[in-house]
């Protein structure tokens, strides 16, 4: 399935948002983006970082998938969904 196929529905779908108390930041000592959250620190890979930058409660999953498909050819919408599910389990993002 492509991002286009996913966006073909009337409903824009759920909009992920970084949870309150969680922060995406950049660490100058390690030269890497970091996710700071109540229990610790995650070091997101470039795809996760790009997804998290769009987790503002404004963009729907479909839109995020479309925006990232332009940048990262290999990224499938299903992968983004499962990445977001994992981040939701870790209480980094929530669905709105």
């Amino acid at each position: 399935m492509t991002a286009e196929a996913l966006s073909g529905t009337a409903s824009p779908g759920p909009r992920p948002r970084i949870r309150r108390g969680v922060r995406l930041s950049y660490d100058k000592v390690r030269n890497t983006p970091v996710v700071l959250h109540p229990e610790g620190v995650l070091i997101p890979n470039p795809t996760a970082t790009a997804v998290l930058e769009l987790c503002d409660g404004e963009h729907s999953l479909t839109e995020i998938a479309r925006l990232l498909a332009d940048r990262y050819d290999a990224v499938q919408p299903e992968q983004i969904r499962s990445l977001l599910d994992r981040l939701a389990d870790k209480q980094v993002v929530e669905w709105t």
Binding site: S25, V29, R30, L36, P38, G40
Partner: protein, 361 residues
């Protein structure tokens, strides 16, 4: 800076601002001899410690104690830490938290509050805390929720409150916790003195296990539950966090720098102080942080074991407290030649009469 043991930058700092505390928890893991107010680092020194921590890579600061709210400069230290870009967590009993005080901390940049709860109701909560503490938990949790901060509730479990596990889960839900940590007592400091009185029965542990399993499923996505098991009855030890000197630094109220909050128990360790040496030098170059990095120090039992990457040979503080040798295999491990020590403790008849924690001046 490079380090012969392959140390990488630390991620978190626990700043124990004071040992002073209005509660008297018999399970408290802080040392038996508490530091007094006149031994505490002053504001300027704490600021310098926090700056140094940030410079060497610390991204998360836990303000703890004792009761960190007992320090008048808490808001200033939070503001300084948040200004450096680090994540700020407050570990508190909730006593002393008013709406105005919390607002000042939130304005300063506080990100998260971890509130300790002693029991599911006032009768047990106040008895364990040794003071009227329980109603403060309800007030504090409500303030934190209304301020819009995420809330974690921490409960230390022992024989006097283990029967309340289900009620404690309900209580944490009522408090609006995003996360609940149910931790069986770890026997360090004052808690070690009360070990026999605190140690849960096998029946209590078995019952709790089922209740927690059920709650994990029932509350998935609503409230996260972390259950820290009692290690003595286990076959394998708990890991030494992510490894000794791998991620965390603890600074005691007087500036003593430790690889873990319980490390002052290891009397053979040459702990250093931020008043004498920079945090970076202590992290990379001190004998205390280098002592149990890597696996050269390990006994043959651990060095030849596949699990050493998972548990790092278990807890160094526990090894020292139970065997007198901080480099020994954690005696909880069934492969340890000292496992008999733990079995004996488990088999002993349990004493009653929890001794309340004596206060610091």
């Amino acid at each position: 800076m490079t380090n012969p043991k392959g140390a990488v930058p630390p991620l978190s700092l626990t700043a124990e601002l004071t040992h002073r505390c209005p509660l008297h928890c018999g399970y408290c893991s802080n040392p038996i001899e508490l530091l007094t107010r006149d031994q505490e680092l002053d504001t300027a020194t704490w600021r310098e410690v926090l700056t140094q921590a940030h410079d060497i890579g610390v991204l998360q600061v836990h303000f703890s104690g004792g009761e960190p709210l007992g320090r008048k400069d808490l808001a200033e230290l939070i503001e300084h830490t948040a200004g450096l870009g680090a994540y700020v967590n407050l570990v508190t009993s909730g006593l002393g938290l008013t709406e105005a005080r919390l607002q000042s901390l939130v304005d300063a940049g506080l990100n998260h509050v971890q509130l300790s709860v002693q029991g599911a109701d006032a009768a047990i909560g106040d008895r364990i805390a040794g003071t009227r503490a329980h109603h403060h938990k309800i007030i504090a949790a409500d303030l934190v929720r209304r301020a819009g901060l995420p809330l974690s509730v921490n409960v230390v479990l022992h024989r006097e409150n283990h029967h309340q596990v289900a009620a404690l889960i309900d209580f944490a839900e009522e408090l609006g916790a995003d996360r609940l940590e149910l931790a069986n007592t770890q026997y360090y400091g004052w808690a070690l003195r009360n070990r026999s009185q605190l140690m849960p029965t096998a029946d209590q542990l078995a019952a709790a296990e089922l209740i927690v399993q059920d709650a994990l499923v029932r509350l998935k996505g609503k409230m996260q539950i972390v259950y820290v098991i009692a290690d003595y009855p286990e076959k394998f030890p708990k890991p030494c966090t992510y490894g000794w000197g791998a991620r965390q630094i603890t600074v005691a109220p007087d500036g003593t720098v430790m690889p873990c909050p319980a490390a002052s128990a290891i009397s053979t360790l040459q702990l250093e102080n931020v008043r004498e040496r920079s945090l970076g030098e202590i992290w990379y170059d001190s004998s205390s942080f280098n002592a149990y990095r890597g696996d050269d120090w390990m006994s043959d039992t651990c060095r030849s074991c596949d699990r050493r990457e998972l548990d790092f040979g278990g807890c160094r503080c526990q090894a020292f407290l139970l065997t007198g040798d901080a480099a020994a295999t954690d005696p909880v491990c069934h492969k340890s030649p000292d496992r008999g020590v733990v079995d004996l403790i488990l088999a002993e008849p349990r004493r009653t009469g929890l001794v309340m924690r004596s206060p610091s001046r």
